[in-house]
Symmetry: C2
Subunit: 377 residues, 2 copies
């Protein structure tokens, strides 16, 4: 015979042997005096759903699961989606506590904006080891990127299916060891730079640019650099724009390179201006990310085919013998809020090509990395 | 000994046996009188690149490939990216004509906004069979969705790598044969609807909703419907919201269901209002798409895990024996312009899970479908 409960204030009071039956052995509720406990409405609904609680009395009416569920959901606060996640994790064998004043573990969120503290399997509230600080998100909510660090996201889609994402601060480092030469000269052509006589190592060892070649012909040493690669090389003093490589009277004046572009600083200015013209503010954020990755001895190349800003190679010896690329990097602003569906798209694609999805949060000066991966709890 | 050319106006004039050597046998340029031909600067640059043309004289100066390329690119008009695509297709064995007044085939674009007419392998300008009406797009340009129908897109990314997408009008049809019953009653709970006593066929045969169940328990017949599923069922007269399923005094008044929601029309209104509240105008466009797909005897389910609006099942007999889902559908407005990187993301993911990427262009009344797939020409 299952016990019944009674809604008192914002908790469901259960007497009898409830403490032993629900709290001590399975981590539900918080102990009151004697053997009584108080359950959150969510916990009570779950126990009704399982048939472990018989009914809950609300304002003198005795409610079964359906009526109590509708009653509790009518209060809003995402009751329905939180119920789905709570039940799923219970089914997976976890004990978990709602982060609610007075409930066990409510002070263990560790700064995260969590709905539940999920204990490791075999661990119990209030002091057991924590597996997840879990945040429930409906697919129509948005998720501030800056706040996800270290939380587990449980996203409930419009058809009530669940997807779990683990988030972490990332600190990628590589082992690529190549110094580009200091005397490269290039021509700015629309949104790329051509270096006609690049030394072989620039591409083969540093993985800068792409040879201007086809099946039928290769112009020996001609490399096309992206604007990001060119700006980075110019900023470190390796590249200058050389307008004498163009015909007199036919230079691309719109590039703003002008007279000062034949030194490295003028070159960097000219390329950044072009980047800003074709890409707006995004260019500075992407250049910040490109530069930071290079400084971490990582080689960033375009992630276009994967819909990302970059794919990264941690340890390039030669382009002939390229390692698997480890990360996809998307550059976002620090105040970016994820749309769950777009996050799902990025993370799914990265998983499908055995890469880790990393977001670079940058305003073009500071930069932080967050990785997001799908998990099965 | 290769012939030389001379820039005259906007064409490069080549004399000698140029007609036979370049036009008749390989489809370059347009014939002038006698054996002379005129090449576009793009064609001339490519022939210089291959070493098939010795030099081109421009204003009395004799230019090799590099100087001529810089000269031609300085005129803008995406010369560099068009050159990359032109060269790649030539290397792949295609003859192709720039869509330029007076050049062969220039009137064969068929309404498309094409840069090149690409002939089938073995076919020649001006009348040969057409393989692609090809449009060159730099990754920083945008692509109006309404205009892509039947074109092949050659996207040049920032590192000068190429991706080809084939676009088509799509007309998906399915063979799912299930009529939902006319007497479903549900409760609107935030952004979903629960039907407590759904007949088994609603889920098992019609693939509507998702059972409210866990590993430990199933409430027999309880289905959670998405707002889209519920709105569709209400619009066809199958579902009404029944507030008596909720406790008196605890109904969710914010749903606007009120008194009139106990008939199907009032139910449809109430659900659409809720959809608009949680999703804005997008809800009407997505409902239009959901409805159109159901009317095509296709079952749409959420595409959340793939970052899309829907995945579709063409022919559902039973949910137990579900076929592979064939399409991912993203709902966009008719005036939507694709960002190439986002298009690349969608198409890449769809390809990775063996589905076809389809875009539903709808303003919530009319609807058109376009499919996009990556190809290797």
């Amino acid at each position: 015979m299952q016990p019944d409960g009674e809604l008192r204030g914002d908790g469901v009071h259960v007497g009898g042997d409830a403490r032993q039956r629900f709290y001590d052995s399975r981590g539900y509720g918080r102990p009151l005096g004697g053997n009584a406990i108080s359950l959150t409405p969510l916990e009570a609904a779950h126990l009704l759903f399982r048939g472990d609680l018989g009914a809950v009395t609300v304002d003198g009416e005795t409610l079964g699961f359906e009526a109590f569920f509708v009653h509790a959901a009518a209060a809003g606060d995402r009751f329905a989606v939180r119920f789905l996640v709570y039940s799923d994790l219970r089914d997976r064998g976890f004990y978990l506590s709602p982060t609610r004043e007075g409930w066990p573990g409510h002070n263990r969120q560790g700064g995260a904006d969590a709905d539940f503290i999920v204990y490791e399997r075999g661990a119990s509230p209030p002091d057991g080891a924590i597996a997840h600080r879990l945040r429930v998100v409906g697919e129509r909510e948005s998720i501030p990127a800056a706040g996800i660090d270290g939380t587990t996201l449980a996203i409930v889609d419009e058809e009530s299916d669940l997807t779990y994402f683990e988030t972490q601060t990332a600190d990628p480092t590589g082992g690529t060891d190549y110094d580009p030469p200091a005397d490269l000269a290039g021509v700015l052509l629309e949104d790329r730079v051509v270096v006609w006589d690049a030394p072989a190592g620039l591409y083969d060892r540093g993985f800068y640019g792409r040879p201007l070649s086809g099946r039928a012909a290769t112009i020996d040493g001609a490399l096309q650099l992206s604007l990001l690669e060119a700006a980075y090389l110019a900023e470190r003093g390796s590249l200058r724009l050389d307008e004498t490589l163009a015909l007199a009277g036919t230079t691309d004046d719109a590039n703003g390179a002008g007279d000062e572009a034949d030194d490295a600083e003028g070159t960097a200015d000219a390329i950044r201006r072009r980047g800003r013209t074709v890409e707006g503010d995004r260019f500075a954020r992407r250049l910040r990310t490109y530069t930071d990755l290079r400084e971490r001895a990582i080689v960033p190349k375009t992630g276009f085919k994967f819909g990302a800003d970059f794919r990264t190679y941690l340890d390039v010896e030669t382009v002939e013998d390229l390692p698997h690329s480890e990360h996809l990097v998307r550059v976002i602003e620090p105040d970016h809020a994820f749309v769950p569906r777009e996050l799902s798209l990025d993370v799914r694609l990265a998983g499908g090509v055995r890469k880790r999805m990393v977001f670079a949060l940058t305003d073009a000066s500071s930069i932080d990395y967050r990785s997001v991966a799908r998990i099965t709890p």
